[in-house]
């Protein structure tokens, strides 16, 4: 049990507690309350992302969920993939996918400008 695994264990718990509110809150808001996912469209996001509160929520959720999930995949791969080469390749494949999506998601959350599209 080295330092890395201890920090990984700690990160899973801290991000888990935060995601308990962010992710459960997100699915309840989007899919259960206010008429459900049927009301979600471009205008909905346009209005929602006028508020720094929701942008912060979404970006924090995006970051924590991606790193929590990719680290979870690492654990699963460690358990089932017996060949060292395949383990390395798969783990890094998901690390790269996670990092690329983290970059893409961050750019979208921070650069989306509601004023670029007419609100009618």
């Amino acid at each position: 049990m080295g330092g890395y695994e201890l920090w990984s264990w700690l990160f899973m718990r801290i991000s888990g507690v935060v995601l308990l509110f962010l992710a459960v809150g997100h699915v309840v808001i989007m899919h259960v309350l206010g008429g459900g996912v049927g009301r979600v469209d471009f205008k909905f996001v346009q209005l929602r992302w006028q508020s720094p509160f929701w942008r912060t929520w979404d970006w924090l959720m995006l970051s924590l969920a991606l790193f929590h999930g990719v680290n979870g995949l690492r654990t699963v791969i460690l358990d089932y993939v017996r060949s060292r080469g395949a383990r390395f390749t798969l783990t890094w494949f998901f690390n790269v996918v996670g990092l690329v999506l983290f970059a893409l998601g961050s750019v979208v959350v921070f650069t989306f400008n509601p004023a670029n599209f007419p609100t009618t």
Binding site: L19, V27, H31, F42
Partner: protein, 128 residues
């Protein structure tokens, strides 16, 4: 490596502890694989209303909404079971109650999912 169940028996008990673990894995992997797709579909918002609304029409499909209900259930289970895991980690007496903690987790899960299933079901039927 996989030793036959010898004099010590199998390490895998197949009871509350193992079932909660299996469910945690399956829901966790399911959620992250969905999230990969979800980041990409949300990114389409940058291309404006026409493109984004076309993507979102997938989410509005009644059959897809049933899959979304499964996704909500996976998120809720994973969150509640995460709390159970942390109780086992940080509360010294918790292992004594581990089976009861599993049933308590499932009770909260079912109790939470009943209104969620009702509301999502009602919304889907209303939109048909």
């Amino acid at each position: 490596m996989a030793k036959k169940a010898g004099e010590f028996g199998s390490l895998y008990r197949g009871r509350e502890g193992q079932w909660s673990w299996v469910l945690h894995r399956v829901t966790g992997v399911g959620i992250i694989l969905f999230l990969f797709a979800h980041v990409v579909d949300t990114a389409v918002v940058g291309w404006g209303p026409e493109a984004y609304n076309r993507v979102l029409s997938v989410y509005h499909n009644p059959f897809v909404q049933l899959l979304e209900l499964v996704l909500v259930a996976m998120v809720v289970y994973h969150a509640l079971n995460g709390v159970r895991i942390m109780l086992l980690d940080f509360w010294p007496n918790a292992p004594e109650y581990q089976a009861r903690l599993f049933y308590a987790t499932m009770a909260v899960f079912v109790g939470g999912m009943i209104p969620i299933i009702y509301i999502i079901g009602r919304n889907v039927i209303r939109e048909l």
